[in-house]
């Protein structure tokens, strides 16, 4: 018995001695992350010392296996990409042999066969348990119920889907469940497929949780050595996390590219701890997601906006041959009148286009009505500024691609879709676009017009679903 105790003590001392030698800032940064060995914010010697003392584990960047047919199959250990066409093999001057790298997550620093990834391999940091929820608003009974159900799912560790119409106050529903997780010292992530959504969420969450360490991660955000307890991140940024979170909330779960990309889905799963639930919040869940959650988790549905007013029903208006008109340098009359009406009534507006080229041709024509009208798209350099200018009422309206279809709130905004028959405007996209209208209590309605060159099933389906939701029905 004494001998055993001695053994235990010896091991404990050994562990303690090891544990004493690490740098807490390295732990705080690396815990839950999977990072390039040579590109950390710390000196290379520090990282090497931690690898030596086994506080940090190294993992090869690319795992290559052989299939039964003797074909090589690569897996990226960072983004877990398995699409073989997204790998390139070349003669590497560093490892002097054929070396494969992943093109999928290239922009975060190349991961190749001879690149080493590092993960934290020792005790996890302990997160604070003192947090205040400063949000003063009151939830509607439906919101409150969804919020309670979500907390319940967190305790049960099962996935939860909040299926709530646009403008029903989805973010507010999350506050209480997140607060409870934070109080328990859990690490939480809110992920969204688009930067715009993260940028809109960040100030709201910072205001709601003033004492919590919050970090927003997106392409172009400054990297720090912080290790916040509450992380807001674009789904792409989750490639760099591994077994980090006790719960992940995926906001606007159906937005491109999340549903489109299996790899991103796996990245979300990988970023969560193995037992941790991944929740979804969206107004337009795909059938696949609905079926999945029905089997494994819980769904809360909210079909009323927080102010109780119905969703705006889309109005069809034909705009025959709009492409030709715009290419000839003429703004179609109906579109012209609609815009002039908005300008006269000083109502902010968004006009959605399916194609950047066409939108930019139209931009010149719109500028003849008002020079302050701008066009924005995903890679537009001033995208953030233009959207902010619309919020500040410095510009009367914007032309946009589907990037602004979700997550943004502009009081009294009026919305038109040019070319609603285009494939990119599927049911989900149209419902989301319509969801921009009438979000504020002061202006609970507004015009939502679909200018089209023919009516599609997607348009009819979207209209049908909105009417059904307004009647109080639960969409299937």
């Amino acid at each position: 018995m004494v001998g055993l105790n001695e053994e235990v003590n010896k091991i404990r001392n050994g562990v303690l001695r090891m544990a004493n030698t690490f740098d807490p800032s390295v732990r705080d940064f690396l815990a839950g992350r999977i990072w390039l060995r040579l590109h950390t914010p710390f000196p290379i010697e520090t990282i090497d010392a931690h690898i030596q003392s086994q506080h940090i584990k190294t993992i090869p960047g690319i795992k290559t296996t052989k299939t039964y047919a003797n074909q090589t199959r690569h897996i990226c250990n960072r983004c877990e990409n398995t699409i073989q066409s997204r790998f390139t093999t070349f003669d590497c001057a560093k490892c002097e042999g054929p070396c494969t790298y992943c093109r999928h997550c290239l922009k975060m620093g190349r991961v190749s066969t001879c690149t080493e990834l590092i993960v934290w391999n020792a005790e996890q940091p302990i997160y604070p348990t003192n947090h205040t929820l400063a949000w003063q608003g009151i939830l509607t009974p439906r919101q409150q119920q969804a919020s309670n159900e979500l907390t319940e799912s967190n305790t049960k560790r099962i996935p939860h889907l909040i299926h709530a119409v646009c403008g029903s106050g989805k973010t507010e529903i999350l506050f209480e469940p997140i607060h409870k997780l934070l109080l328990a010292g859990k690490r939480v992530c809110i992920a969204a497929p688009r930067v715009d959504v993260i940028l809109e969420l960040e100030p709201r969450l910072r205001a709601a949780f003033p004492e919590t360490a919050i970090e927003a991660l997106y392409g172009g955000a400054e990297t720090t050595t912080d290790s916040a307890q509450l992380i807001l991140a674009t789904t792409h940024q989750l490639y760099r996390f591994r077994h980090a979170f006790d719960a992940i909330f995926v906001d606007e779960a159906d937005a491109f590219p999340y549903t489109a990309e299996e790899t991103l889905r796996r990245a979300v799963r990988k970023a969560a701890k193995p037992e941790a639930p991944v929740h979804f919040v969206t107004a337009t869940p795909s059938d696949k997601l609905l079926n999945e959650i029905k089997k494994t988790g819980q769904i809360s549905t909210i079909n009323r906006r927080y102010h109780g007013h119905p969703l705006p029903i889309p109005r069809y208006d034909s705009l025959w041959n709009y492409t030709k008109h715009i290419q000839k340098g003429k703004l179609p009359k109906k579109l012209n009148n609609w815009t002039e009406e908005r300008l006269r009534r000083k109502e902010p507006f968004l006009i959605f286009f399916h194609h950047i080229g066409l939108m930019e041709q139209a931009e010149l024509l719109f500028k003849q009505l008002d020079t302050r009208i701008h066009a924005v798209h995903a890679s537009h350099p001033d995208r953030k500024e233009h959207v902010q200018a619309l919020r500040n009422k410095e510009v009367p309206g914007l032309l946009t691609t589907t990037i602004l279809e979700r997550g943004i709130t502009i009081p009294n905004v009026q919305v038109a879709v040019v070319g609603a028959e285009q494939l990119i405007f599927n049911k989900g996209a149209l419902i989301q676009i319509g969801g921009r209208v009438g979000r504020s209590e002061q202006h609970p309605s507004g015009d939502f017009v679909l200018f089209h060159h023919g009516i599609t099933y997607a348009m009819d389906d979207a209209k049908k679903e909105i009417i059904q939701l307004n009647k109080g029905g639960v969409p299937n």
Binding site: T88, F90, C92, K94, Y101, K107, R110, C114
Partner: protein
């Protein structure tokens, strides 16, 4: 059908007889992306270089391309200009790529100019080697003109009294190429031409 290497979109193929008979060349990038590169097509003579050909201007698209190719180390992008380099360079004269310092090459894991040629399936010979570690891009014009010889002949190689074509990615002041040409001419080359993918504004 493959994806565009730059924008990751599917490359829309236009149905044609050529495509049906598999005579059409596979392109690595889509029409939209290739339109963003601006042709320069400069052909000029110089005291030391018998002919300098540059294909593209250094515009925003090209800056991004070089960034992804050289600094993000996306070797796959070597194939973007493969068809074009092949059409321009296939033939007799020996192609001599501007070399990288061996240490720099290991650091970057590949030599971009070599990869351009490999991807274009063009044979090439390394006749030169770098004397120092310095990069031209970090110097001012005065500094560039004052530097000691940048290259020397690679030990164990010989230069014939014939034509050589130097290949480099970018031409800014031409100092690099003139240094290389000087070495080759002093070793007995009769004619030294140069081809660069990009011509930058001075």
């Amino acid at each position: 059908m493959n994806d565009c290497l730059l924008c990751e979109q599917k490359i829309a193929s236009v149905p044609s007889w050529k495509a049906l008979l598999a005579l059409e060349k596979q392109t690595a990038i889509c029409q939209d992306c290739s339109k963003k590169f601006q042709r320069a097509d400069i052909k000029e003579e110089d005291k030391l270089l018998d002919q300098v050909t540059s294909l593209y201007t250094y515009n925003e698209a090209m800056r991004e391309y070089l960034h992804q190719f050289k600094f993000l180390q996306d070797v796959a992008l070597a194939s973007v200009f493969a068809n074009e380099l092949r059409t321009l360079l296939k033939g007799d004269p020996t192609i001599v790529p501007i070399p990288m310092h061996p240490e720099k090459r290991i650091e970057r894991t590949f030599a971009p100019v070599d990869e351009l040629l490999k991807s274009a399936r063009l044979p090439f010979t390394h006749l030169l080697e770098k004397t120092g570690m310095e990069a031209m891009g970090e110097k001012s014009k005065e500094q560039r003109l004052a530097v000691k010889p940048l290259f020397r002949l690679k030990p164990g190689t010989s230069v014939q009294p014939s034509t050589y074509i130097l290949l480099d990615d970018i031409y800014t002041t031409g100092t690099t190429l003139r240094h290389a040409a000087t070495v080759l001419k002093e070793a007995g080359a009769t004619r030294v031409e140069a081809v660069t993918l990009i011509r930058a504004e001075r």
